[in-house]
Point group: C2
Chain length 356, copies 2
């Protein structure tokens, strides 16, 4: 088998962690007898610096011609004062929209060996293992109008939370499908006591639920879900929600694990290439120092092997290798407690290569 | 002095906790030589049952003719299947809008004696003490259009996040004023990398900040704020944000204290009566059993005495009495650990009366 992979290192530690992933991919290719043609392209601040735009046309074309896209991270203080549509994040949002990757999957898992890094008490967080399915190409992020208006009474501004029924249904189906492969428990998060879009959302979930009698469905208001995530995270199995609620809840969920440096994500479309990226940001403060934790990117690569390359065994072996280096006690600086020596990015990558 | 107070017990435990507050108010009146004319009215499910509407006109009139409104709680499974505008919550939203109480203040405090009830580790949560200032009458809650549309491509739905510059400025000024009376630290929460309304919000904060050189301002993205609230809640002093972000973050913040049953809120307008209510809900499961914790409502009454009656000493004495019964080890069922006997609502109220 031969695949095409677009790699977008982006900004900050993005280059170090994607380069770790490529090293690991080479080894996996030889172990599982497939090959990958890798093409690199710019996005975010790096693209602004070189081309004056966070998402150059060449990058779009390379991504579209690939089977999958691996992204490092975008953003940094250097570009914070540019106008909205010329900031690094605009590149990421544009790429999501162009690739139509509407289904953002964020697995949240508490690694037993890392639990002490959680801000939550052990008895609260232990055993948490769920996945957030976030709608990624609709809602307040892209709805129109999104504008300022000068009126007789001064300035006013609107953003629009827009969904079609079809957009809701396709993400909800992704979540139900996942739930059937897991513990059969789906939590749909909305704000149906206030938002009309949430009332439609809830109706769609109720309708689709008829096709999945084996899945148990809970509807939860977003404020209550934000509580539950801290109070009883073990409650959740699959969580499905709209774009902005998903943004907030998935970051909240990430932090309860205590190991942001370990969390991967996949953004899938119905057809074209999927987009894979670590949940952590570009960490400009440690960029270029060979200190970044590459494991979130390696777990993202594992999701890529699974969903875009259908290399299920390779995906599973890579995931197990990452877990095994953690159980062996290897840690990068973000997770090294008093009892661990902090490995560099490249040293940690070596450990995973050895474990493969 | 003579004041007029509207009391809206609402649903579930609402009647028990407001009745506790009225008992305590009687005693405070005699201690501080003022008197209150109390008028009771229906809201929420109780009003639906009696008048077929969650916010009867009579209730609106009584509230408008008062110096302050004390609310218990609204909602319950009994009314969950009514259409949106006839549900209990619609009564609360309508009251907020009618009274123009745009400034919702939610103090978040970790009581040293209750810290073990927090899901967070002691070293993370200890010393947290901040206040969330939530815009309460704008944003996605009330913006128009808010509707379904049948199109050639099927059903679509929109909600509108709408703000005028003036609406943003008035809430931001409330927050700056509070910050000058506290630790001089303001966190403004927005999603300026995605929402146009957040970009205007941030500009207004930056402009108003020029009038408050003594206040240190942080801008934080809502996803990052949701993380920080779990990871480092002691960071915050005053947090200001728009309506829906405030809804989510204030519930998240409430739960980290471990004592939802202790948290009060005040919703203030520029002129008319303020609206005071406990943060907890109507708890239908324990309603009518004399088990509810009345302390959040008593702390809301303390805020009412402070902000609407300008009875500063009475407010402070009531707050201290509530704190003292907690330090003396008295607990209602929600907070009674192994070492405490659970007091009933009326027993707990007796303790506060004794402490006054
Ligand atoms: C960078 C930003 C635009 C983005 C988002 O809000 O979606 C990020 O927070 C994320 O969750 O991937
Ligand atoms: C009941 C509901 C409409 C309300 C809100 O969303 O504002 C509640 O969650 C609150 O925070 O007071």
């Amino acid at each position: 088998m031969q695949y095409r992979l677009a790699v977008l290192p982006g900004d900050g530690i993005g280059r170090e962690v994607t380069s770790a992933a490529l090293t690991v991919l080479k080894k996996i290719e030889s172990l599982f007898s497939f090959s990958t043609e890798v093409e690199e392209a710019d996005i975010g601040g790096a693209a602004i610096d070189r081309f004056g735009h966070p998402l150059p046309q060449r990058t779009v074309e390379i991504c579209q011609a690939s089977d999958a896209v691996l992204l490092g991270a975008v953003g940094g203080p250097k570009w914070d004062n540019l106008p909205g549509d010329l900031r690094p994040e605009a590149g990421l949002l544009g790429l999501r929209k162009t690739l139509q990757v509407f289904a953002n999957l964020r697995p949240i898992r508490v690694f037993p060996e890392l639990m002490d890094a959680s801000p939550l008490k052990r008895e609260v967080v232990e055993g948490s293992h769920f996945i957030i399915v976030r709608e990624l190409t609709g809602g307040l992020y892209f709805g129109e109008p999104k504008e300022r208006r000068q009126t007789a009474n001064g300035l006013e501004v609107v953003d629009t939370l827009h969904y079609t029924e079809d957009e809701i249904e396709r993400i909800v189906r992704v979540a139900f499908d996942l739930a059937t492969k897991r513990r059969g428990h789906l939590t749909s998060v909305d704000k149906a006591n206030v938002l009309e879009s949430s009332r439609v959302w809830r109706e769609v979930v109720q309708r689709v639920a008829l096709d999945y009698p084996q899945v148990q469905v809970h509807h939860q208001l977003v404020d209550s879900a934000a509580m539950m995530m801290v109070q009883k995270p073990t409650f959740f199995d699959v969580v499905v929600t709209e774009n902005l609620f998903g943004d907030i809840l998935s970051d909240e969920a990430a932090v309860i694990t205590g190991s942001l440096g370990m969390l991967p994500s996949a953004s899938l479309s119905s057809r074209g290439p999927g987009l894979y990226e670590p949940v952590h940001g570009s960490a400009p403060d440690i960029a270029g120092q060979n200190r970044a934790n590459p494991l979130a990117t390696l777990l993202s690569l594992s999701m890529l092997l699974e969903h875009s390359f259908s290399q299920h065994e390779a995906a599973s072996v890579l995931e197990k290798s990452v877990l095994s280096v953690i159980s062996q006690g290897y840690r990068t600086a973000d997770l090294a407690g008093r009892h661990h020596q902090a490995l560099s990015t490249t040293e940690m990558t070596e450990r995973v290569l050895a474990a493969l």
